[in-house]
Amino acid sequence: MMWLKFALRNIYKNRRRSAATILAVALGFCSISLFHGYTQETYAGVATSIIHGGGVGHLTVFKKGFSERGRLEPEKYLFNQQEIKQIQTLVNALPQVMLATPRLNLSGLISNGKTSTIFLAQGVVPDEDKQLRGEFISKEGGLDSATPSAVQMASDLATILELEAGDNAVIMGNTFSGMVNALDVDVRNTYNTGVDATNDKFIRMPLAHAQLFYDTQGADKLVVLLDDIQHISTVKSQIQTLAKQQGLDIEIKRWDELASFYHQLKAMFDMIFLFIFTIVIVVAVMSVINTMSMTVMERTREIGTLRAIGVRRSGIKWLFSVEGGVLGSLGCTLGIVMTILIHYLIKSMALTFTPPSSTAEVTLNVQLDIGFMLILSLLLMLLALLSAFFPAKRAAKSTIVDALGHV
């Protein structure tokens, strides 16, 4: 208690130097917590855009072995109509499940009559797809099961084939039984996949039309949408148990297993964060070390006096550690205030930018992670305390006569 009074008065006495130190800690705190908030926002944003925008859903149910062999022998790993029903009933019984919708992917050639190019297509159940995509559905509207041949085409593919909304084209490929098949498609509208690599290949069409293309009634997967991303693990294991009981041989993948891009992005951001974090912490802590070493030196005679009148060595260490800790906590408090202010400032300015390998604009946003800020405060306070502890320890070790200044 007494040392706290000492600390506060000394901080006030050297207010200019203290202010500089507090500001250094606060700026460090602020930049770290803002950048952390930005990465968190990015992770969440990317997750939503994969799950909803990309239509990946939270979980995808495949027939066992699909991920290894499905590409070579797709017909072997197809769910038939009865299996689809069975899985839907089973999955929909779980309260966290909003939707389980079948999908069928296809590939082949698409031609506008003059030229042709390869395409990749996704057959979806139009109404269920709308529910999955929610706000990500394009402005022109989604697919319609009433017009199965009306498709949505990725914008670069449309450009390559010189197609516009209302034009038609022909898709060609083999059915599962090996027959050559060709179908008409009408371009209902074009959309941006958000990724350059897919924006020149993708087509989305009603499931019925996709099934017609392969001459099948089946689907190669079921996409499951949950009420909350937090429930993924529980639901995944629940589905697995239920499927086992019913003798269904399936495998389930999480959304992030299907979008490895997410983990690469996260790893990159985590690396940048660690880098910035280290530099900023070092700078902030150096500032406290500098201030506290100066303080300890200036107050050598005071240390000698205190020791002479009966303060133990540990008391001297406390005296300065408390001062360092107070400097650190004042810096963190100011840092929290600054972070919150900047958070709302960014929000009110509604800045937009285009993230790498994306073609759509995104609003800059920074999450306020209170838990993270508390941990960061504790860490910085501890470091500030230690920055004072070591110079104080050295000073407490020297002899009283020396400290009193060669009496």
């Binding site: 007494m2 000492f6 008065r9 000394n10 006495k13 005679r301 005071e302 000698g304 006096t305 205190l306 020791r307 002479a308 009148i309 009966g310 303060v311 133990r312 060595r313 008391g315 002899t399 009283i400 006569v401 009193l404 009496v407």
Partner: protein
Amino acid sequence: MIITELKDVHKRYHLGETQVKALCGVSLSIAEGDLIAVWGASGSGKSTLLNIIGLIDEPSSGTLKLNGHEVGEMPDNVKTDLRSRYMGFIFQNFNLMPILTALENVMLPLQVQGVSAAEAKEKALNCLQSVGMERFALHRPDKLSGGQRQRVAIARGLVTEPKLLICDEPTANLDFENAERVMDLMCELNQKRGITFLFSTHDTRLIDRVKRIVYLEDGTIVKDERA
């Protein structure tokens, strides 16, 4: 009743290759109620002697007994607690805490002992009164004159009721008038309250009233004179 007893104390300092002998075989005992002046020229070893008696420096050889117990190899914390309990210090340059008021400065040694703030405050006010500084209780040291600061420092030295008050040239930074007042105060406290003082000075004008004068020359006691 003997408070402190020195036997054949030597103190050597090493300055690179050369050795400085600050004390050469000093023996001295201090009884309760003494008022001892240590007189000597600059460099004669006054500060060294007082520091050793005050347990803030260690002799190179010889023994030091406090209350009949040999201090010798005691651990630092024990010596620190002995200082807190038995010694009071008054320094040439006052050494008050600049961030504390006069009252808080006087309270400090008690609070270091763990005395509650309320009790410390009461005792500190009494001490400030006995040195005539009660009106300045709430002043910071930088608002006080040199003589006033030294009186606050004396109050700080007195507040724990030490067995021995050690004052290294307490008047050296004061003009003669203030120096005399500090001397008067020490004599008065010694006579009226029986407080034991050990102080060093090189000013001959201040030592005529003192009961006992120890003359130091080049680290040896050349004369131990009782009035």
